[in-house]
């Protein structure tokens, strides 16, 4: 079952192929979660159950969706507690309840495999020397099941000579950075981190220290929320150009994802669009009446995934605003839907690995 999820080219399914691939799997997941997760069943039944999908055209929009916030207030799982391998928790400031996501072995394996096939489209098969805009302690605690730790651990598979560039107080470790750059001088490197942390503790720190450009080419992959940077008027273009100049990198890719649907990583392509992989999809909905919106209209992002088997996370309404840009038509050559995330729903709670760290650092309470 797992292999079947990943035997299609990750960005190679057009609209028709994708519907054929995804719809039956989403139907099966809806049925299975309805049968096995009592709170989920009650929610769906309160809305009149779920309709059988007969028409593949436009069928994606007919799946019921639940808000990501439900995972903070409810324990939603579809397997017995003995089957749960790990419970992931979302980032949270001290005043917020974290989301709790129960993974069994199969779902955890699917997520790992999903990340591999997605990242190979951007990193190729070789493992580059990897520097992280974080401190080593974030993954050391064996009971750390935070989204931030899980995110980092997942990405570690893609690099080698893992070097953490920050100390525990988030100060740049100059010597570690210089040693890493020297060890890999003349070669491309892979830099990873959460967006606010990369900006504040790496890019800005290197600028202040007058060190740049530090590397001889490479790729930066970052994700986890833009709100804090938007507050400081740092947009994507600014972020990219400063990252390239200061770090000496040639490629910068943002990713959009969430702990509630881990494995659904929407990567930003070379042309600035977020792409849905073969086993996931996205719908933009009008917040007034939840009707699906076409290209160019801003609405609330709904994400769908064929991966979550142990918890009902296959069709979720996020707290993000986004806009569809097109389907099967990106100049980067990847098929599927492409979209942009433009912000948060006003008055949504502060979320995301990047922003909650920023908020905690500021000692702000939400």
């Amino acid at each position: 079952m797992t292999l079947e999820l990943f035997d299609r080219p990750v960005y190679g399914l057009n609209r028709v192929e994708k519907a054929e691939f995804l719809l039956p799997r989403l139907q099966e997941l809806t049925r299975a979660h309805h049968a096995s997760c009592e709170p989920y069943r009650r929610i769906l039944d309160a809305r009149g159950g779920f309709p059988a999908q007969k028409d593949p055209r436009g069928g994606l929009e007919q799946f019921p969706f639940i808000p990501v916030r439900l995972f903070k207030s409810h324990e939603l799982r579809s397997v017995a507690s003995e089957e749960v391998l790990t419970v992931l928790t979302s980032s949270g400031t001290t005043s917020q309840a974290p989301s709790r996501i129960a993974l069994d072995r199969l779902t955890a394996q699917r997520q790992t495999k999903a990340l591999v096939v997605i990242m190979q489209s951007f990193l190729g098969k070789s493992r580059l020397p990897m520097a992280l805009a974080d401190h080593a302690g974030v993954v050391k605690d064996r009971r750390a099941h935070s989204a931030r730790a899980a995110g980092i651990l997942g990405f570690l598979n893609f690099g080698r000579d893992h070097t953490y560039l920050l100390d525990q107080t988030m100060q740049l470790e100059r010597q570690a950075l210089l040693d890493f750059a020297r060890r890999h001088a003349g070669n491309r490197v892979f830099v990873f981190g959460f967006t606010f942390m990369v900006w504040e503790y790496l890019i800005r720190a290197v600028e202040r220290s007058g060190l740049g450009p530090v590397f001889s080419g490479g790729i930066l992959i970052h994700g986890g929320g833009w709100k804090k940077l938007q507050d400081s008027a740092v947009d994507n273009e600014t972020f990219k150009s400063r990252a390239r100049a200061v770090l000496g990198l040639d490629a910068v890719h943002n990713f959009y994802g969430m702990v509630e649907q881990v494995g659904s990583i929407f990567m930003e392509c070379e042309h600035g669009a977020l792409h849905a992989p073969a086993f996931a999809d996205v719908i933009i909905r009008d917040p007034k009446d939840w009707s699906p919106l076409g290209d160019g209209s801003v609405g609330v992002v709904q994400v769908l995934s064929a991966l979550p088997g142990s918890y009902p996370g296959h069709s979720l309404l996020t707290e993000d605003l986004g806009v569809l840009l097109g389907e099967d038509d990106c100049p980067c050559g990847r098929l599927g839907k492409r979209f942009r995330v433009v912000g948060r729903i006003p008055s949504a709670e502060l979320r995301g690995c990047s922003d909650t760290h920023a908020a905690t650092a500021d000692e702000r309470r939400v």
Binding site: R127, N157, F158
Partner: protein, 80 residues
């Protein structure tokens, strides 16, 4: 090759922080507390150093048991 088998078992024991006697072909990822995703990264690094190879990402993901590790390392010309 006796030597490589023993080297493999000892690398596992060191990386996972377990007694050598615990390391058999049947030992599996995530089935003991010590072999979790954090230890796995350390295991990969130590195997690469011990056998002077660089593993592909897919092989890192697939290395779910000691037995599987032998199969994978054989792709890198390590004989057991």
């Amino acid at each position: 090759m006796e030597g490589n088998s023993e080297k493999l078992y000892q690398t596992f024991a060191a990386a996972l922080g377990v007694d050598r006697s615990l390391v058999t072909d049947d030992l599996q990822y995530n089935k003991i507390a010590q072999w979790d995703s954090i230890a796995h990264m350390s295991l990969v690094a130590q195997l690469e150093t011990a056998f002077d190879i660089m593993l592909e990402t897919e092989d890192i993901i697939d290395m779910s048991s000691v037995k599987k590790a032998k199969e994978i390392l054989e792709k890198y010309d390590v004989r057991f």
